[in-house]
């Protein structure tokens, strides 16, 4: 878990915000997926969210639904995602967050999952459909505290609930940018900034914002308001559009570098009410 803290500490000294990339493990197939995530990490991704495919991804839009379906068609299981994690960990210190729906973890076994995830070198887990009301059943079966449970905060989350979630979170907080599924359009940077400020005031943790962020302008605007920017569907769309290409991994790595350039020098948004320009030149 200290890899997450180290990353945010280092970014602060570099005056940068975290670029957090999500891709579904096993998409489009096992070998190419490994090439893609390795290349993305090598290109400077700050945190990797590795998606565990699920048959019924109710919080995801069409792009990630199709990524999940491609991965499952190739037979990807949770143990395969853990194997990818372990292999990446051999030569990378990039924090790895396993991103999953609850059922694959529940069926794998909650204690076994903890042991195997930690052994593989995962730093945290984000379980989309496991709100604080239900997560004790998982964390009470964990024998240690070496895996951060990344909590989600939504635009619909009331203040008092936000405070409770912030108090029980670890690693970083994932602020959902809008009401909708992953990959939707219609970002409201003003609202994102206000939510991020509020959340940061409540929590002693970095706040990363995700859902619907796709252009470098989006990245720059969100980076100005938060500690990190999460990109998922845009990477998955790139994979989908270049499925047949030999240089698929290089295409993804290039995109990582472009996004990353947009996170440099983004001013930390204070809670004073002043706003950075939404689209810095």
């Amino acid at each position: 878990m200290s890899r997450i803290q180290d990353t945010f500490r280092r970014l602060k000294t570099e005056n940068r915000k975290a670029l957090v990339g999500f891709v579904t493990a096993g998409d489009p197939d096992g070998p190419r997926s490994f090439e893609i995530v390795s290349a993305m990490c090598a290109a400077g991704l700050d945190i990797l969210e590795l998606g565990v495919p699920f048959s019924d991804p109710t919080a995801d839009g069409p792009v990630i639904q199709r990524a999940s379906a491609r991965s499952l068609a190739g037979g990807t299981r949770l143990q395969d995602v853990l194997a990818v994690t372990a292999r990446l960990r051999q030569d990378s210190d990039v924090p790895i967050i396993l991103f999953s729906y609850y059922n694959p973890i529940f069926v794998y076994g909650l204690t076994r999952f903890y042991a195997d995830a930690v052994a593989a070198g995962a730093d945290g887990v984000l379980v989309v459909d496991l709100p604080p009301e239900e997560s004790d059943e998982m964390t009470t079966r964990w024998p240690g505290q070496d895996l951060a449970l990344i909590r989600l905060v939504a635009p619909t989350t009331p203040d008092e609930r936000m405070a409770r979630i912030a108090a029980s979170a670890s690693g970083f907080l994932y602020l959902v940018s809008m009401t909708g599924v992953t990959g939707s359009g219609g970002l409201d940077f003003g609202a994102i900034g206000r939510h991020a400020d509020k959340l940061r005031a409540l929590a002693n943790l970095p706040v990363c914002v995700g859902f619907g962020i796709s252009t470098t302008d989006d990245v720059a605007a969100v980076a100005a308001a938060a500690d990190g920017v999460v990109i998922g569907s845009a990477f998955e769309r790139l994979i989908e559009e270049h499925l047949g290409r030999e240089d698929l991994a290089a295409i993804l790595a290039d995109r990582v570098r472009q996004y990353k350039a947009a996170t440099v020098g983004a001013k930390q948004q204070g809670s004073s009410g002043t706003r950075a320009p939404e689209k810095p030149a």
Binding site: F54, S55, A59, R77, L78, Y101, L130, P158, R161
Partner: protein, 405 residues
Amino acid sequence: MNAEPTAGTLPDDHGHFGPYGGRYVAETLMPALLELETAYRQITPKPGFQKELAALLTHYAGRPTPLYAAKRLSDHVGGARIYLKREDLAHTGAHKINNTLGQGLLAHWMGKRKLIAETGAGQHGVATATTAALFGMQCHIFMGIEDIRRQAPNVQRMKLLGAEVVAVDAGTGTLKDAMNEAMRSWVTRVRDTFYVIGSVAGPHPYPAMVRDFQQVIGIEARRQILEAAGRLPDLLVACVGGGSNAMGLFYPFVDDDIAMVGVEAAGSGIATGKHAATLTAGSVGVLHGSKSYLLQDENGQIKEAHSISAGLDYPGVGPEHALFKDTGRVRYASITDTEALAAFKTLSRLEGIIPALESAHALAYAMAEARRHAANEIILVNLSGRGDKDLDIVSDRLQKEPKPS
């Protein structure tokens, strides 16, 4: 109605039925579920709400529905006497209206102007569209493309009623996929939209709330059988997809010393793997917001369900049924497509009642069971819906079936 028996105190404050139930949803939906739970606890017990709902059920939905002694069917089968709770005679042709009027009225009291719902056979979609029309609300119904194909008359009905039918072509294009899409839609429109779930499934408070709105079936049936036969039945039988008509019938009898059987869809047969018998052949997991039995593989991926009946074609089941299975309070059996079709024909010919294919599963089980019971025993079957919607699929299937010699 005040003297009716009350069953247990579940779910607990967090919506758990023992190890089952709960609220396994994305954070965006949690505040909406908490708001709904508060409204459900505070508004639905109010005398004003109950009075309005009772009036709707009586004057609009046509309740109480009759309890009918199926004499020719009983004589034909031999053994126990079979009574049918005629939910097929409720407005819109199935028990689903009991729940949609309840949830629609709650949405109205909460000031929500938009309803969304998932549907399989289309009965819940039609009932929701009907309710939306009645309250002057906007309505979107999510339905799998396979179900749109096989339940075309209900699609026409929903459109006539002013609802927009959203075709879902993900997965197998059936009820599970429609529910996925309805949940995605709800995440997007959560601030002003009420999601009308059609079964005793989904996240808390739906399993409890839908049970409460459906238990009018069992409350009436209990009173009616006491009037008609002077005693309680020996066995209750109802089909189980998500399980709302079964829960509605069973719940007011839970504390009585009588047997109950929930009948799942065995599709082409349990051994073929092509079935929807979640409690009979599934394992515990989390889908669509609650923990219950599921059809899934060893990696926790949800499997496709198979049934001739679109309303039973679902790989999950309500969490309270999961608890009833574990405690043994209810026994769960299964009936194949072929057996259900035979019962469909038999009831049509002998009683002049064309049952829904869903209900035909319960009937098929009850007919087989009646033979094993004495003539002074009583089996009460929930005839949860009428079969007009199934005419195409049944005639199609009967043409393909080998003629009995």
